[in-house]
Amino acid sequence: MASFFLSQIQGLDRLTSDEVLVAQNVFFALIALVMIFAALRMVTTENIVHAALYLVIVLAGAAGMFILLGAEFVAVTQILVYIGAIIVLFLFGIMLTKGSFGTEEGEFRERNQMAVLVGVLIVAVTSGSFIDSFRDAELSREAPSTTAEIGDTIFGQFIIPFEAISVLLLAALIGSVVIARRDL
């Protein structure tokens, strides 16, 4: 899938100059702007259902970023797990707790200035250090990583963490049932 997209993109790539893939950069800028806009709307909108839908846009944009980076399996997993499962879980959570947030607007702006300051500081510090460390670091334009390689790595080098993750998922399953059940 990623290789298909890459070949499509490279077909458009007549404007290539000095090893800069113009089409990829155009797609990056487009997706990044949509993602940042949707993320800002998500954290500021009063309507929580709209916030969930804006989160869908951000997650889909992240999947697009993974495809641009040649990580097709991560992109597909992102769409399946996040947009397919986690967003549905959020919508259920919103549905089951609906009507309980009438007073959000009042003190919502109270901590606003401090939070803006913290966010701007995080962006400034991390971006500064990134620019300082990786000034002209180009991403390699090799073939995208295949799913077979990822499977080999998970079931070879990372078999213990993989088993730990499965135990963690079981614990989370049982734990959420125990927490949410009424008669336990």
């Binding site: 990056f28 800002l40 959020f90 707790t97 309980s100 947030f101 620019i131 991403l139 790595t153 949410a180």
Partner: protein
């Protein structure tokens, strides 16, 4: 493509998520902002995996996705319990463990 453009995008998304965690009082909104933070971390991991042509970065992103799924399950169960006991999910009103 430069590595930096992905890293800076993920830094911006991370800080937007932190802003959401700090300002929102609705429990579900805080969980959604945490998802935003974890996603920006994933973009970072995959960008470094593409930069170094190393698969483990992508594997780690998959692990982060799995842990995020577990976290949302437990977090939403807690929010539901909160709603059942207090009839609202305003996080500012939860101070019974305050010292």
């Amino acid at each position: 493509m430069l590595l930096n453009q992905f890293l800076i995008l993920s830094a911006v998304l991370f800080s937007i998520g932190v802003y959401g965690v700090l300002t929102r009082r609705n429990g579900v909104m805080v969980l959604m902002s945490i998802e935003l933070i974890l996603n920006s971390v994933n973009i970072n991991l995959v960008a470094f995996a593409a930069f170094r042509e190393a698969i483990p970065g992508e594997v780690f992103a998959l692990f982060v996705i799995a842990v995020a799924a577990a976290e949302v399950g437990v977090g939403l169960a807690m929010v539901l319990l909160l709603y059942r006991n207090r009839r609202n999910i305003d996080l500012a009103g939860i101070d019974s463990m305050k010292g």
